[in-house]
Symmetry: C2
Subunit: 116 residues, 2 copies
């Protein structure tokens, strides 16, 4: 049993928009992801969507507003709300989602879930 | 709608072991807490216990092992496992618990849940 170092986990891969599971919590996956550029617009009807920015800056576009999330900042997209994560420069994020949640909101286009 | 800045929330209070709710996620409270010294031994039978250290260093003593969690590190105490959080110097932690979970494992001794 040991602590999970998020920076070390992030250093172990380089692909963007491919979350890596680093821990489990009550049926949720604790994941780190590197992002850059525009992700697809999507929504999750069954879960809120948790973002904590560890490094860099993430813009979360929603239909009614956009939120800029910087390092040490957190944002929760309410379930059902369409959103598009965007990062001009590389950013590192902690995500928490119920195990099995497709990152695009659609199992057909979702990233394969891997561990880091 | 705006991002939640964890350092700003932490700067708004000074008491130790008094978690402040800063957001909600799927029926969970997202909380920040300042800790220093020894907390009580306790356990949560109904939930895992999520710790992410934002600043400082937290030792989580368990019956079989101890884990040291530094800045940018995360640890999940499995449900039912007795544990005692300890910090020699002040540390700042992000906690995630189902809304209503007593921080001591016992509603009679738990900190009153407040927002920050």
């Amino acid at each position: 049993m040991s602590a999970i170092n998020l920076a070390m986990k992030l250093a172990s891969f380089s692909e963007y928009w491919q979350p890596r599971t680093v821990g489990k919590f009550n049926g949720y996956d604790l994941m780190v992801v590197k992002v850059k550029g525009e992700f697809v617009w999507h929504k999750h009807d069954d879960t809120d969507d948790f973002f904590l920015v560890l490094e860099g800056r993430l813009t979360i576009r929603m239909r009614e507003a956009s939120v800029v999330v910087g390092p040490g900042e957190m944002f929760v997209v309410p379930r059902g709300a369409e959103h598009q994560p965007v990062a001009e420069e590389e950013a590192h994020i902690l995500l928490i989602e119920p195990t099995g949640t497709p990152n695009t909101g659609d199992a057909r286009t979702a990233a394969v879930r891997r561990e880091a």
